[in-house]
């Protein structure tokens, strides 16, 4: 927290212009600027702490059995260089929790592969439904997102015509976004940083 104050003092003195690429850490700049829509691996600490802890060893990606985890080049600023991210539309997270097991520093928490701890600890983002284009809400019973959800009836419920509703238990794995047959998707994960 003190360092954030330090950076604010720096920005006042104009030095920040020089250090801007470094200063673009989360909580200071990365959250507020238009960035690619990405998720951090499941169990990642809050963005600020995550960037503190991550040493860019790449073991999370190397332990990911689906190659879901990718690594940033410069797309998200210098502070995110070589840090892991997930694009749910390309490859969602299956919540196997192997990356937390592999992370040496604790930037990604070690969470057992069970429903309870996953629901309480993982917060990658939250699914948001656009009812204007969702097929079920347009009178064509679909329910694909519900079928795909790893936590059905817990983080997503369906009602009449399989119209989906996302509950607070959603961890943001992104499988529903991957599964959605509508183009553009009627359900998307809003990353936790942007909510």
């Amino acid at each position: 927290m003190e360092r954030r104050v330090f950076w604010k003092v720096l920005s006042g003195s104009g030095l920040a212009a020089l250090m801007a690429p470094i200063a673009s850490r989360a909580g200071f700049a990365a959250n507020t600027r238009a960035t690619p829509r990405f998720l951090r691996p499941p169990g990642a600490l809050a963005e600020d702490d995550f960037l503190d802890r991550c040493i860019r060893c790449g073991k999370c990606g190397e332990s990911c059995p689906n190659e879901t985890i990718k690594f940033f080049d410069f797309e998200n600023g210098l502070s995110s260089l070589n840090t892991p991210y997930i694009v749910p539309r390309e490859k969602p997270c299956v919540l196997c929790m192997e990356c937390g097991e592999a992370c040496p520093t604790g930037a990604i928490k070690k969470i057992p592969h069970e429903a309870e701890p996953i629901m309480s600890e993982v917060n990658m983002g939250k699914a948001v439904i656009n009812k204007d284009i969702c097929l079920s809400y347009q009178g064509k019973s679909c329910g694909v997102c519900y079928r795909a959800c790893p936590l059905p009836d817990v983080s997503m419920t369906v009602g009449y015509m399989e119209q989906p509703t996302v509950t607070d238990a959603c961890v943001g794995c992104g499988i529903c976004e991957r599964a959605c047959i509508q183009m553009p998707q009627a359900i998307k994960i809003m990353p936790r940083a942007n909510t």
Partner: protein, 344 residues
């Protein structure tokens, strides 16, 4: 007795087997193995992903080739590769070898300065490297570092190229700086990680970069931006200062140097066997001066000087400090000119 052919003492030296003279080959073998592992591990990871997907028929021909090759390599050792291969992950920056978590001390230091916290397990992962460094000195730099493997080959290329450059009147690649520069780099890196609160240092630390880039190439299909940085360091070594990055800039090398200030294993010159030929100074990758007993904390015990010494004057010794300059070698011309040799 007269029937025995007198043996020239010089021949004796050359034919006798001295183990320490062959350590340099062992070192190259170690470097090659580490580099080979960095290439192998991403393929093991790919194999694991194919297994997890459980979809052999869906693999392309190239992927099938990878699958079959890695399967034939690993099947003698493990019945459940999905979980067992997790014991081999990561790079020299931070990795798991035979299930043991190992991290670069620089990773620990910068992670601590970035976050002001550290988990015990992460701290312990640097215990073995640090203890080994306290005893063996900068052995990581000479014996393990995957970047050293490339840089030394690059340096060999330089020994071919530099005479050619000289011929066309371009005497390049000969600059020398202060070896203390790297401590400044380390200090700046620590200040930056502390103020920015993120481990940016891993993007300019060659062993971390190269391990990552090999992984990107094999798994993601192309190098990342770090490869450009690595290429730049190679060009720096080739065109500006010989082995310049390791000698003058590398922050990890600076940390290892500090840790190996009072290392126990050292190389020592036996002044009675030395003939002042200076071959050791020529091969020394770190630009040290073994011929005048000047090793200091920069020596990484790579044993290249031992391997090249024609009179076996360089040996390993256990001591926490170097001996002071012992004067000219007793087999050399200078020593004999001074007339000291004749008195013995």
């Amino acid at each position: 007795m007269n029937s025995i052919i007198p043996i020239n003492s010089k021949d004796l030296v050359e034919t006798r087997f001295v183990l320490r003279r062959h350590l340099n080959k062992l070192r190259w073998l170690t470097l090659a193995i580490v580099f080979f592992l960095l290439i192998l591990l991403p393929f093991l990871h790919l194999y694991q992903t194919y297994l997890a997907a459980n979809a052999y028929p869906l693999l392309s021909n190239n992927e099938k080739l990878i699958f079959n090759t890695v399967e034939s390599l690993t099947s003698p050792f493990t019945a459940s590769p999905e979980s067992d291969l997790n014991n081999f992950k990561g790079t020299t920056w931070s990795g798991t070898l035979f299930g043991i978590q190992l991290s670069d001390p620089l990773a620990i230091l910068t992670s601590m300065t970035a976050s002001f916290t550290i988990s015990t397990s992460f701290l312990m992962s640097a215990l073995i490297p640090v203890l080994l460094t306290l005893v063996l000195g900068r052995f990581f730099c000479g014996w393990i570092c995957p970047a050293t493997f490339i840089y030394e080959l690059n340096d060999n290329l330089g020994t071919w190229l530099h005479p050619l450059f000289d011929k066309v009147g371009l005497p390049i690649g000969r600059l020398r700086f202060s070896q203390r520069l790297k401590y400044l780099v380390l200090a700046v890196c620590i200040i930056v990680t502390t103020t920015a609160g993120t481990v940016l240092i891993s993007n300019i630390y060659p062993p971390a970069v190269i391990g990552r880039e090999i992984y990107y190439l094999i798994v993601m299909g192309s190098f990342g931006v770090g490869s450009l940085f690595f290429l730049a360091t190679m060009l720096f070594d080739l065109l500006i200062a010989r082995r310049g990055f390791c000698r003058y800039i590398c922050p990890g090398g600076a940390l290892y140097s500090l840790l190996s200030r009072y290392r126990i294993l050292r190389i020592k010159r036996d002044v009675t066997n030395c003939n002042d030929c200076a071959k050791c100074n020529t091969v020394c990758q770190f630009g040290l001066d073994p011929m005048q007993d000047s090793f200091g904390q920069d020596c990484n015990n790579c044993s290249a000087c031992i391997a090249t010494c024609p009179t076996d004057a360089l040996t390993f010794t256990t001591s926490i400090s170097d001996v002071k300059f012992q004067g000219a070698g007793h087999l050399g011309k200078k020593y004999n000119k001074q007339g000291i040799g004749n008195q013995l």
